[in-house]
Amino acid sequence: MLLEVEHVSHQFGGLWALRDVSLQVPEGALVAIIGPNGAGKTTLFNCIAGALRPTRGQIRFAGRRIDGLPPYKIARLGLTRTFQLTRPFHSLSVYENVLVGTLARFHSKSRAEAKAKEILQFVGLADRAQRLASQLTTADRKRLELARALATQPKLLLLDEVMSGLTPTETGSLERLVRTIRDTGVTIVLIEHVMRVVMGLAEQAFVLHHGQLIAAGPPQEIVRNRTVLEAYLGEELHLADGRAD
């Protein structure tokens, strides 16, 4: 198992955002964490990525405990996250954005530069490399976010709602990119609301509701799960365009 979340609970003041969540992600897998808004998905990501220290529980990455470590140390171990609202370095160009990532990873400046160009080609941003990051379209920003994450040569990628705000065409294109990334050997954990993406990409889905894990399994089974359906239908519905039939 590459990532092991063991009985993680997290409290914000008086509110328990996560309650006794346990899950495991094997190396090479592509899994999704889903659930209604406010279920605790991003809190879980933040705990895994080091932005938060879980109130209770342990998190292990490649056998090594990472809960409580600062985010930059976790990134250096090979676990990189992206942000739901893209956060490009706005005063830098697309190329420089990725370069920051490769410089953090490689000691040699020339290697870092070469790798940055390689990654830009890989995600399809090479022809917009000199543009300022702040001038990109939403779809391109998502690509940049991915490119920057790839710059750190991650073993595991946490993608936080990477498909949000995209047209169906853009979604399909990004889906292909995510699959290609997985094919290069990177383990991927997605938070997703767009069910079509979950069905199409994920091998396993973990469902969170009110901070608790209520179901786990292949997406096809999950969408038929009674508890899951009640969780979604009991709240504000946000199942984009992928309802199970």
Partner: protein, 353 residues
Amino acid sequence: MHKTRTDQQVLGTQKIPTSSIQRYIRFTLPILIGITALSVPPLFLRGYLLDVVILIVFWSFLGSAWNLLSGLAGQFSFGHAAFFGIGAYTSTVLLVRYGINPWVGMLFGAGLAALAGSLLGFLCWRYGVRGPYFALTTFAFAEVLRLFTNNWTFTNRSLGLQVPLIGGNSLLAFQFELDKRPYYWIIVAFLLMALGTTIFIERSRTGYFLRAIRDDEDAAAALGIPIMRYKIVAMAVSAALTAMGGTFYAQYMFYIDPTIVFGAHVSVDILMRPLVGGVGTPLGPVIGGILLTPLGEVARALVRTPPEFLPFADFIRGRSGLDGLLLGIILIIVILKVPQGVIGWCEYRWRQR
């Protein structure tokens, strides 16, 4: 890895000019022009005008030092007077009480300021004091030091300290009472050092990391950059350079007291030039210095002896503060309308064409 031409065409990365004529135009000529421009003032100016030029370079130097932390790294400091004062007091106290050479004292001051800044930065950034709260904390820090030196007998309390005159010029003693031109050369050397440091850092890995930290600290951390380490480095270098300016000031004015070196007006004066000229750009503080310093002097001269034809000449004669008022208005206009400063605005227009 070998750069292929397709890479460069596709990515638009710049090629360094290889022909010798191109190299001459791009690098050597501007340097020659710069050297010529810098050599003019001491050849033709004396007295008050030379003082003004020295002050222009002086404030540009301090602004440049501030820029490293607050422009490049994005950690806005409102209390750089703290480091200025640490430099001024360290070298002057060591000189007056123990006879230690001011150049040596300057190094001690720079070291002490770097230490103080690093400690302050670490405490703030470790415990989540960021942005405007960090700015306020630096302001408070300078104030604390002002009150401290104002009440400490070791620093002669509110009476301040006088740099003993040795009579005449001496590079060793860092004093030039008779002929002030060496002050000019020294402060120009300081400015070039600050500019050189800024440009060197900007192009290095550290520079990229600092700009990333400035733009989005959390995203930078998520990429594996140890942000605390880099912020402290920026802080230490910025503080050390500022402290050197403090020593220079003491040796130039021959007198310091807590309010003169730790006062809030110093912090504002330091940040004004980079702010107006272009925060975060190497030349911003210089442009700001060239624009604002003479303006301040003209405003001061205007109230001292206002031209007779002005209807309110009688009203303003002898009053003080017009320079402060003017600079305050300029600051407000710049922050509201042109926050990226003169250079930022020029770059923006350049990109529009």
